[in-house]
């Protein structure tokens, strides 16, 4: 199958493209910087109509991961990449006769701050999603699913908290803070959160590309390991794998939320661009339960996680023990 993967320079995109390549698919990648994969590559932004038109030409499937992922920054930047980029890609793909489109989304598109316990994939809601990222990803998902039609099946997949060796988002930041002794447990640390090991997430995306068609389209599916744990335990295991001291200090939830809100204001006022210690969004994410009913996902995608938490922690530990070689 000829597959276009956008955003292949990130951990999940690169892993997924690699998986497709290894099983013999004809892969093209599209992103701004070189992904370092031995396959066809188009360099450019998903908002660049010319680059996009070149990239989608002759493809059977599009797997769209490219997005601006962060907790800070101006709303226009998110709007531009996530909403306009998706609209551009969807319309180009449809025009080029692409026969399946998988939109990689996020559970945060349907999350308004309440705990999610064994939740299904609720419709994306840009009006209620928290933060620029979630709001624009929600709008993007609606655009992609809105284009779903018999000749152009669209599936939205929402991997939840992807982590693993080489992860610069969740794991690396946590470990750096823990190493500096500045990683507290927010609240009781009991909130159950589900996560997805990167290889399992990549396999789910490949499964989504395969499944997308007459019997699987037009709906969002949350992808996770289906093995939730208290957030304190997840932190603890990640720190142990990286051989840094696990967090001991507890910060009360109201304080964390207040600190998050204050930081939101400060960062916005000072137009700082560095990564803040905490944001309101992050404080909420780390103190409320997030875990999902995976039955629908697993039956539609005919996929289930092969690695999971325990093996994942072991692989992470081995990777740190080996000195964090590039993946």
């Amino acid at each position: 199958m000829r597959v276009l993967v956008t955003g292949a320079s990130g951990l999940l995109g690169r892993t997924t493209a690699g998986l497709l390549l290894r099983r013999g698919d004809d892969v093209t990648v599209l992103q701004r910087r070189g992904a370092g994969l031995s396959c066809a590559e188009v360099l450019g932004s998903v908002t660049d109509e010319d680059a996009v038109a070149r990239a989608v030409r002759g493809q059977d499937a599009v797997l769209h991961l490219a997005a601006k992922v962060d907790v800070v920054g101006r709303p226009e930047e998110y709007e531009h990449t996530n909403v306009r980029g998706t609209a551009t890609l969807v319309s180009a793909a449809r025009d080029a006769g692409v026969s399946r489109f998988v939109q990689v989304s996020s559970p945060s598109v349907a999350h308004a701050g309440r705990p999610l316990c064994g939740a299904g994939a609720e419709p994306a809601d840009p009006g209620r999603a928290r933060g620029h990222y979630a709001r624009t990803k929600a709008a993007a998902e609606l655009i992609a699913l809105g284009a779903d039609s018999p000749g152009f099946p669209v599936l939205a997949v929402r991997p939840h908290l992807v982590w693993g060796p080489g992860d610069t988002q969740l794991v690396a930041r946590l470990v750096a803070r823990a190493r500096a002794g500045r990683l507290p447990v927010l609240g009781s640390g009991a909130a159950l959160i589900d996560t997805t090991y990167v290889d399992d997430a990549a396999a789910a995306l490949v499964a989504a590309v395969d499944a997308c068609g007459p019997s699987a389209h037009g709906e969002p599916l949350v992808v996770s390991g289906g093995d939730p744990r208290p957030v304190a335990e997840v932190f603890n295991r990640l720190c142990r794998a990286a051989r840094v001291p696990p967090p001991r200090r507890h910060v009360p939830v109201p304080l964390a939320l207040a600190a998050g809100s204050a930081v939101d204001l400060l960062w916005a006022a000072s137009r700082r661009t560095g990564t803040p210690p905490i944001t309101r969004f992050l404080a909420e994410q780390l103190t409320t339960a997030h875990w999902f009913d995976q039955r629908r996902t697993r039956s539609v995608l005919r996929w289930s996680p092969a690695v999971g938490l325990e093996d994942g922690f072991e692989r992470l530990a081995a990777w740190y023990a080996a000195g964090c070689p590039p993946r």
């Binding site: 701050g113 309440r114 705990p115 316990c117 064994g118 609240g187 009781s188 640390g189 009991a190 909130a191 159950l192 289906g226 093995d227 939730p228 744990r229 208290p230 957030v231 304190a232 335990e233 603890n236 142990r240 696990p246 939830v253 939320l257 909420e284 103190t287 409320t288 339960a289 875990w291 009913d293 995976q294 039955r295």
Partner: protein, 885 residues
């Protein structure tokens, strides 16, 4: 779906009359306008909800009350029984029906309804369903259409004021002329107040929907007129019509179903009692916690009504007839009753009427068989003379004692029914239970009489001991036992009840939800006593200690003397080894009946025994511990306190006890397994399992065939002569528990092994419904409790059914010692540290999402030994939801 043979529905012309729009739960296709002649022959337009089904089996005619409308019945329309048309009109002047110019009386309204059912072509069998003032109207229709009438269903309604009652206080208030106009018509206060009675509060959309047709004062006029038409005194235009109707109800011999929200401040419990008096054959379900709008508070009423009318149309097949299910057929052969002549429960008292030996020793005071026999005979006659009639219900608020035993046997001898609750339920729980049981008499000590007054219990009052005149008046005492015994001395004994007479209503401990009343007939209690005697080979010398005090009641029926240790009955864990030994010495006991909570402290205090006390315990040959499974570790320790006793644990529940029995040796031989080994079913007791619905399913889904193959996990079902007769005033619960005719579904989950032993794995409500497997808690808890440093464990599921994850809550050895007993209270849940969590995960044998530490686990009241997993799950779910959970 075929449509009913009626005129086509008249569409509501927009603008002419408000119509129900898009309201929650109402299918617009049900809504129609029908023209019918009223009592005076004038054409009226009615708004009717009609499911339009061909009435193959019949029609349910559902009448709402005031100030609601047919919307009230949407659940019954949605869940209509197959083959039944459901018709629910709005009364004239109410809902979306025409507003007549003048108020209509009861007689007119009954005639109006007759005109409407003609217009709707309601022919063939009809079951009327009425709520509030719709109840009396439905009965009016019923009495006028007896040829068609196949049943009556009533919920929170009244046909008469109970004697001495001036009518519901709230209605009396609403009826005062000024209040009526302002409260019912000028303002929507009455309309709104009615839907505000619900607990928990109704969703706003539903409250709005209930008030929808009463938006303006003119549209509310009939609300006030209805209230005005309630005849509280003679001379009222509707007084005679109501009185006639109320008497007419007594002549109804069709099946009747009463469903009730007992928290109704309008039609309280006494109105249910009045209706049960008029319809003594009625089946009853009290939806505990539900209020006046019982259809809203207990929407499951619809399922009950549907199942009930379905059975009316197709009489239940005899037990054992299970079409197309060969496996089940084999298991469901009808039970053969024993052929021996029936031996009444008091027969040993008659036989030993001259025996000077001890029948009971309580706190050092001993009563002989002869004295007890005489007392029972005199009291039985005295009770009859004092107004206790056969079938009357007698609440006993008396601690285990010789007085209690005497009263119980006297009540039985007089043909009346004892009602027994547990003080552990607390005043509120006992009040719910005893009012729900509609007791006719209360026997109590002074404290109990004061409690009865505080609880507002109905019925006459009988004091255990003579009470001074002033207190007598204050507590409303009618009789005392000594006085009744004097009256009974020499009087002819009352006619003895037969084996099928009701014998007892015993309340469950309420460990899972409100306590349930369990009704027994004499033959069932007799069968229980016989089974206990046979199981433990109890001979004439086997006097016993009732360390679990309620067992002392069974002494005379077993023909055995007994002794009650000197402890507070509600605190079984205050029994020490020394107190147990003293109680044993008092009657030279060979047998001890105990509970696990009591045993723990006995073991802990065994070092304090004096040599003479050790000797008394040496003579005990059998220890039976009932109430909850006894951990093997504890049994082993008990063996050292009672070195010559064989240690037995029966398995059973309030509804059927015992089901199985297991000895300590058998427990050890069985070894570890998936659950608690409770032994083999006793002779005459059959055990089968209803397999659990498959994993990932969201609900149980109907009834599944019973199996007795080894290795199948399912709900434990029991058939035996001593199974309860029925749940009292809990028709829906009764239907569910006896859904396999002849069997009692226990609510416990377990399996049989290859050796025929039963293993209990938890309660059906404790089964964790994960995406890939159904998980039962007990075996996991046992494994986790073997981890060093873990004192106790509870395994629960959190999340939606079908996608639940397993959570293990542990109390570590270093947790603060057990504090005051009782339910609720903070468990202080927190995430277990890494090493403990890893240990627990490795031992659990199943995927565990979270390991939490707790300072304590909530326990049930009666035995203080069963973990309330529902409460654990509730608190764990909250903790694991994190902020905002």
């Amino acid at each position: 779906m075929s449509t009913a043979p009626t005129a086509p529905p008249v569409p509501v012309a927009p603008g002419t009359r408000p119509a129900p729009g898009d309201v929650p739960g109402l299918d617009p296709a049900w809504s129609r306008v029908v023209t019918a002649r009223d009592a005076e022959g004038r054409e009226r337009e009615w708004h009717v909800l009609d499911n339009g089904v061909e009435p193959r089996d019949g029609t349910l005619l559902c009448l709402h009350g005031n100030p609601t409308w047919s919307y009230l019945w949407r659940g019954l329309l949605a869940d209509a029984p197959v083959g039944w048309r459901v018709v629910a009109p709005d009364h004239l002047g109410m809902g979306f029906s025409e507003r007549p110019d003048a108020p209509r009386t009861l007689a007119q309204r009954v005639a109006d309804l007759g005109g409407l059912t003609d217009a709707l072509h309601v022919t063939g069998p009809v079951v009327t369903v009425g709520h509030d003032w719709g109840g009396i109207l439905s009965l009016g229709w019923a009495l006028a259409h007896r040829d068609q009438l196949h049943g009556v269903v009533l919920g929170n309604t009244a046909v008469a004021q109970p004697p001495g009652d001036l009518g519901p206080p709230l209605i009396r208030l609403a009826r005062l002329p000024g209040v009526r106009t302002v409260g019912c018509v000028t303002t929507p206060a009455f309309v709104r107040a009615t839907s505000a009675l619900s607990r928990p509060p109704l969703p706003r959309e539903v409250r709005d929907a209930l008030a929808l047709p009463y938006a303006t004062a003119p549209r509310r006029r009939a609300v006030g007129d209805f209230v005005a038409d309630i005849p509280f005194s003679a001379g009222h235009p509707s007084y005679d019509a109501v009185a006639e109707l109320a008497e007419g109800v007594r002549s109804l011999d069709v099946p009747a179903l009463l469903f009730w929200g007992p928290r109704d401040p309008v039609f309280g419990e006494r109105y249910l009692t009045d209706l049960r008096d008029r319809l003594p054959h009625a089946q009853v379900h009290r939806f505990e916690g539900a209020s006046h709008l019982v259809t809203e508070d207990a929407p499951e009423y619809a399922g009950l009504v549907a199942a009930w009318v379905t059975d009316l149309a197709a009489p239940a097949p005899p037990a054992g007839a299970h079409a197309g299910d060969p496996e089940a057929e084999e298991l469901e052969l009808p039970f053969e009753p024993p052929l021996e002549p029936f031996e009444p429960l008091w027969s040993a008292l008659d036989r030993r009427a001259l025996d000077p030996g001890p029948v009971m020793s309580v706190r050092g005071a001993t009563v002989s068989w002869a004295a007890m026999s005489r007392r029972v005979t005199e009291l039985a006659a005295g009770l009859a003379a004092g107004g206790v009639r056969p079938g009357d219900r007698v609440a006993l608020l008396v601690e285990p004692s010789a007085d209690l035993t005497a009263v119980v046997y006297a009540v039985w001898r007089a043909g009346a029914v004892v009602v027994v609750t547990d003080k552990g339920l607390g005043l509120a729980g006992m009040r719910r239970a005893l009012r729900g049981a509609a007791v006719d008499h209360v026997v109590a000590g002074t404290a109990g009489l004061a409690a009865a007054r505080a609880m507002g219990l109905p019925g006459s009052r009988i004091a255990v001991h003579p009470v001074p005149a002033a207190a007598r008046r204050l507590l409303g005492v009618d009789h005392d036992l000594d006085e009744l015994a004097r009256r009974g001395a020499g009087a002819p004994p009352p006619a003895p009840p037969g084996p099928d007479a009701d014998c007892a209503v015993v309340f469950t401990s309420g460990a899972t939800g409100p306590a349930k009343g369990v009704a027994y007939r004499h033959r069932q209690v007799r069968a229980q006593v016989d089974l206990v005697r046979a199981t433990y080979a109890l001979g004439p010398d086997d006097t016993f200690v009732a360390a679990f005090a309620p067992f002392s009641i069974l002494g005379p029926a077993l023909g055995l003397g007994s002794s009650v240790p000197d402890i507070d009955v509600t605190a079984p864990d205050t029994l020490t080894a020394a107190l147990l030994a003293d109680a044993a010495a008092a009657v030279d006991a060979r047998v001890v009946f105990a509970s696990p909570a009591a045993l723990r402290r006995v073991v802990a205090t065994s070092g304090d025994l004096r040599p003479s006390q050790r000797d008394a315990l040496l003579r005990v040959r059998l220890l039976m511990s009932a109430g909850a499974p006894v951990p093997a570790r504890l049994l082993a320790a008990v063996g050292e306190v009672l070195p010559r006793a064989s240690l037995h644990t029966p398995y059973g529940m309030t509804e059927v006890l015992p089901v199985t029995d297991v000895s300590y040796e058998e427990v050890r031989e069985a070894g570890a397994g998936e659950g608690v080994c409770v032994g083999r079913p006793l002779p005459g007791v059959e055990v089968a399992l209803e397999p659990l619905a498959g994993p990932g399913s969201e609900e149980g889904g109907g009834r599944r065939s019973l199996v007795d193959r080894p290795g199948v996990t399912g709900e434990i079902c029991v058939r035996a002569a001593h199974v309860k007769d029925r749940y009292d005033a809990l028709e829906a619960t009764e239907r569910s528990s006896s859904r396999h005719p002849g069997w009692h579904a226990t609510g416990d989950v377990g399996h049989l092994d290859d050796a025929g032993r039963l293993w209990v794995e938890g309660r059906t409500v404790h089964v964790i419904s994960g995406a890939e497997a159904l998980v039962t808690p007990v075996a996991i808890e046992q494994r986790v409790e073997s981890v060093v440093g873990v004192r106790a464990a509870a395994v629960v599921g959190v999340g939606p059914p079908g996608a639940q994850v397993v959570v293990v809550v542990v109390v570590a050895d270093d947790a603060p010692g057990p504090g005051r007993r009782g339910r609720g209270g903070a468990m202080r849940l927190r995430v277990a540290e890494h090493d403990l969590a890893e240990h627990v995960r490795r031992t659990a044998g199943t995927a565990v999402a979270a390991v939490l530490r707790a300072d304590r686990l909530p326990l049930d009241i009666r035995h203080a030994s069963k973990v309330d997993r529902v409460e654990v799950a509730r608190q764990a779910a909250r903790a694991l939801a994190g902020h905002g959970g």
